[in-house]
C-alpha cells in the first residue's frame, strides 16, 4: 500500500480504502483536508517523509496473540499488545477509541488512527509508576498502532517508555492520545535509541492537559537514523506542561521534534526546552509553535532551543514560534546554534585533558542539564548511561557518587 494515494481521495473513499470503522469518519475527513504529508508539507520540510509515503508497504497484520498480564511493564511486540502488566490501579484494554482530536495539524495523526483497528487504552485510576516497552522485529513492513492513556483526576503517574529491536527498513507509525484529567500529574519519560540500520519511527500524538493538571514530558532521542516526534498539547485553565527534549543525531540522521502547544485556559503554563547535539552530517529539527488563545490570559509560555554542531556537515533546523492572541501574558522564546565553547575547551586542555576527551566531557555536560530534569535517579542514570553508550560507543562506569569503591569516602565531602 502506498500512503500517498490517499491524497487523491475524499473522506468517504479514505474510510473505504483503509477498511476503517465508520466512527472514524471525522478522522477521514480531516485527513482528506490536510492530506498525507509529502516533501513540500511545511511541517515535514526538514524530514525525509517522501520515501515513507511513496513506498508500497506491506501493512503488518499479525495473527492475534495471547496477551500476558505480569510484571510492572506494558509490552508491545511490533505494535501488538504482548503484556498488559500487572500494575495496581492501571487497566490495559484493547478497544475502540472515539475521542480523536478534530483539529490536529498533522495528517499522520489521522492516518495512524484510521489504520489502527483497535487502540490500546491504558487507564490510571491510582497513583502508579510503570514502564511501556516497545519491541520491533519485523523488517520492511509498515507497523501502525495507537495507544490512549487516561490519567484520572487527582492521580499521579510516572511512565517510562523504552524501545528495543531494529526491524530494518520498517516504518513505525503510531502515537499517543494522552489525557491528564484535572489535578492529575503525569511524568512521561521517553528514551529512544535509533540504530543505523533500523526502522524509521514517526510518532504523532495529542496531549490534553486538563485544569490544574501537570504534564512533564522528558524525551531523549539518540538517533543514528531518521525519526520524528510530533505532538500537539492542549492546556486548560491552570494546566502546566513542562517539556524537555534531548536529541543526539549522528550518521546523517534527520530527527527531531515538531510540536504545537495550545494555551486554551487562563493561567496555563508551558515550558519547552530542547537541546540538540549534532554530528556526522546529522540534521536536527525543532519546529515548535506555542499558540496562546485569547481565552488564555495570564499565561506563561517559554520556549528555548540550544544546539551544538560538532562538525561542518551537521545542521540544525530550529524554528521556535510564538503565536499570541492576548496581551496579558508572559512569554519568551529563543534559539542558539553553535560550536562547543572554545574557552571551556582550552581550559580543560590546559589541564592535560586531550582535546577529544575534553569535547566529550563538554558534550556530556551539555546533555546533563536535560537528563537532570528526570527526578527519578535510577532512570536518570540509565538514560545518561545510554547517551554515553551511543555517544562514546561504549559505557564506562566512572561515577564518583555511586562507585562501590568510593561510596564511603564521598559521604564526607
Amino acid at each position: 500500500m502506498k500512503l500517498e494515494i490517499l491524497n487523491a481521495l475524499d473522506g468517504a473513499s479514505i474510510l473505504k480504502e483503509l477498511g476503517a470503522n465508520a466512527k472514524k469518519s471525522t478522522a477521514a475527513s480531516a485527513l482528506a483536508k490536510i492530506k498525507v504529508p509529502h516533501k513540500k508539507s511545511e511541517k515535514y520540510r526538514y524530514f525525509d517523509i517522501e520515501p515513507l509515503v511513496s513506498k508500497d508497504w506491506t501493512v503488518f497484520h499479525p495473527e492475534s496473540q495471547e496477551v500476558q498480564s505480569k510484571g510492572k511493564k506494558i509490552v508491545f511486540q511490533d505494535g501488538i499488545l504482548a503484556n498488559r502488566g500487572d500494575i495496581e490501579g492501571v487497566s490495559v484494554e484493547l478497544g475502540d477509541f472515539s475521542d480523536i482530536d478534530g483539529a490536529h495539524f498533522d495528517g499522520l495523526y489521522y492516518l495512524s488512527h484510521l489504520l489502527a483497528k483497535k487502540t490500546v487504552i491504558i487507564r490510571c485510576s491510582k497513583d502508579a509508576s510503570f514502564e511501556i516497552e516497545h519491541n520491533f522485529s519485523q523488517s520492511n513492513v509498515l507497523i501502525n498502532y495507537r495507544v490512549a492513556i487516561f490519567v484520572d483526576a487527582n492521580t499521579h503517574c510516572q511512565i517510562y517508555e523504552s524501545f528495543k529491536g531494529e526491524a530494518e527498513g520498517s516504518f513505525v507509525l503510531g502515537g499517543y492520545d494522552i489525557f491528564a484529567a484535572r489535578d492529575a500529574s503525569l511524568k512521561f519519560i521517553k528514551s529512544h535509541t535509533l540504530e543505523a540500520s533500523g526502522y524509521t519511527p514517526v510518532w504523532s500524538s495529542r496531549y490534553k492537559v486538563d485544569s490544574n493538571a501537570f504534564f512533564k514530558l522528558s524525551s531523549f532521542d539518540f538517533a543514528k537514523s531518521n525519526g520524528l516526534n510530533i505532538f500537539k498539547a492542549e492546556l486548560k485553565e491552570g494546566a502546566n506542561f513542562d517539556a524537555s527534549h534531548l536529541l543526539y543525531g549522528t550518521n546523517k540522521a534527520k530527527c527531531g521534534i515538531v510540536s504545537e502547544i495550545e494555551h486554551e485556559g487562563k493561567s496555563s503554563v508551558s515550558s519547552q526546552n530542547a537541546k540538540s547535539i549534532l554530528d556526522n552530517g546529522a540534521r536536527g529539527i525543532f519546529d515548535a509553535l506555542i499558540r496562546v488563545q485569547n481565552s488564555a490570559k495570564w499565561t506563561k509560555a517559554h520556549q528555548n532551543s540550544k544546539a551544538v554542531l560538532l562538525e561542518k556537515g551537521a545542521y540544525m533546523a530550529s524554528k521556535p514560534q510564538l503565536e499570541i492572541y492576548i496581551d496579558d501574558l508572559e512569554a519568551s522564546h529563543g534559539s542558539t546554534t553553535g560550536q562547543l565553547d572554545e574557552q571551556a575547551l582550552f581550559y580543560m586542555r590546559s589541564r592535560g585533558i586531550k582535546e577529544e576527551d575534553a569535547k566529550k566531557m563538554l558534550i556530556l555536560a551539555f546533555a546533563h542539564e536535560v537528563v537532570a530534569t528526570v527526578d527519578d535517579e535510577y532512570l536518570a542514570n540509565k538514560i545518561y548511561a545510554e547517551f554515553e553508550r551511543v555517544y562514546y560507543g561504549y559505557y564506562e562506569l566512572d561515577c564518583l557518587k555511586t562507585c562501590e569503591n568510593c561510596q564511603d569516602t564521598t559521604t564526607g565531602l
Binding site: 571551556a344 586542555r349 589541564r351 592535560g352 575534553a358 563538554l362 551539555f366 564518583l400 569503591n405 569516602t409
Partner: protein, 250 residues
C-alpha cells in the same frame, strides 16, 4: 642553577596586534620569578603564549622547556609535561563536575608520567586533604566546575588543581585579583607549601601586594612586549617609589 624554561626573542600577536616584541626570559629551577608591568605590557599574553592559548600567535622566537622548543606543541602536551597556568579569570563550565574533571586531569598527568592512575577512593582522600588545607568549602568539589563560584573560590580552586597536578612550572596570572585578605592569605599559603626547591613559579602581577606573601627570588619588569629589567626582590621597592615610567629596555 639550571634553567627550566628559556624564552628567546619571543614575538607574538593577538589578531593583528603585535604584543610581545622579542621577549627574553629565563626561569630557574626551584625559584620564584615575578613579572611586573603596566597594563597592556603583555603580561597575560606571555602567560598565554607559554601554555599555547588559541588567542596568541607566536610569530618568532622559542620557548624552550626542559630543553625542547614547545612553541608548536598542543596545550595538553605542555600541561602533561608539567606547565600549569592559574588563570586570571577561570572559566565556568556548567555540567562538568569539579571533582570528576580534576580526577581526569590528575590521572592524565599520572599516566603521562608512567605512574598508576588513582582510583576514586585514593583521589578523593588526597583531594579532601588539600581542600581542607586551602580552607575551601567542601561542597564546591561536587558542584559544576567554577559555576557560581565567587572570585576567591575560583582562585582557591585553581590552587587546588595546582596542588593535585604537581606541575614543574607554575604560572600565576594575577592570582591576587579580586581576592580579599583572607583568601589572599589562604591562596598564598597553598602556593608557598608547594615550593619544594624544584618547582618554579612565574608570578604575573600588576601590584606588589602579592609579593608580600609569595617571596620572589627575581623580579622582571615587562614593558611594551619586552623584559626591560631583571633584578632581585629589592626592585619592588624601587618600582613602588618610581613606578614603571623610569624603566627602559636594558
Amino acid at each position: 642553577m639550571s634553567k627550566v624554561l628559556e624564552i628567546k626573542n619571543l614575538k607574538a600577536k593577538i589578531g593583528d596586534k603585535e604584543i610581545l616584541k622579542g621577549l627574553n626570559l629565563n626561569l630557574e629551577e626551584g625559584k620564584v620569578h615575578a613579572i611586573m608591568g603596566p597594563n597592556g605590557a603583555g603580561k597575560s599574553t606571555l602567560s598565554k603564549a607559554i601554555v599555547g592559548h588559541y588567542d596568541v600567535e607566536v610569530t618568532d622566537g622559542e620557548i624552550i622547556y626542559k630543553g625542547k622548543n614547545i612553541v608548536d606543541e598542543e596545550p595538553e602536551e605542555r600541561a602533561l609535561e608539567g606547565i600549569f597556568l592559574s588563570f586570571q579569570n577561570p572559566v565556568e563550565i556548567p555540567g562538568v563536575n569539579n571533582a570528576y574533571f580534576l580526577r581526569t586531569a590528575v590521572n592524565a598527568r599520572r599516566k603521562h608520567l608512567g605512574l598508576p592512575e588513582l582510583n576514586a577512593a585514593e583521589f578523593l582522600r588526597e583531594m579532601r586533604a588539600k581542600v581542607e588545607e586551602l580552607g575551601m568549602k567542601k561542597e564546591l568539589i561536587n558542584r559544576s566546575l567554577n559555576e557560581g563560584f565567587s572570585g576567591g573560590e575560583k582562585k582557591r580552586n585553581e590552587i587546588l588543581q595546582m596542588m593535585m597536578l604537581q606541575p614543574d612550572v607554575v604560572i600565576l596570572d594575577e592570582i591576587d585579583s579580586g581576592l580579599d585578605i583572607d583568601a589572599l592569605r589562604a591562596v598564598s599559603e597553598g602556593i608557598n607549601k608547594s615550593k619544594d626547591g624544584k618547582r618554579s613559579f612565574l608570578v604575573i602581577t600588576h601590584y606588589s601586594r602579592i609579593l608580600d606573601y609569595i617571596k620572589p627570588d627575581y623580579i622582571h619588569v615587562l614593558k611594551d612586549g619586552k623584559i626591560v629589567k631583571t633584578a632581585g626582590p629589592e626592585l619592588v621597592a624601587q618600582l613602588e617609589k618610581e613606578g614603571y615610567g623610569s624603566f627602559e629596555e636594558n
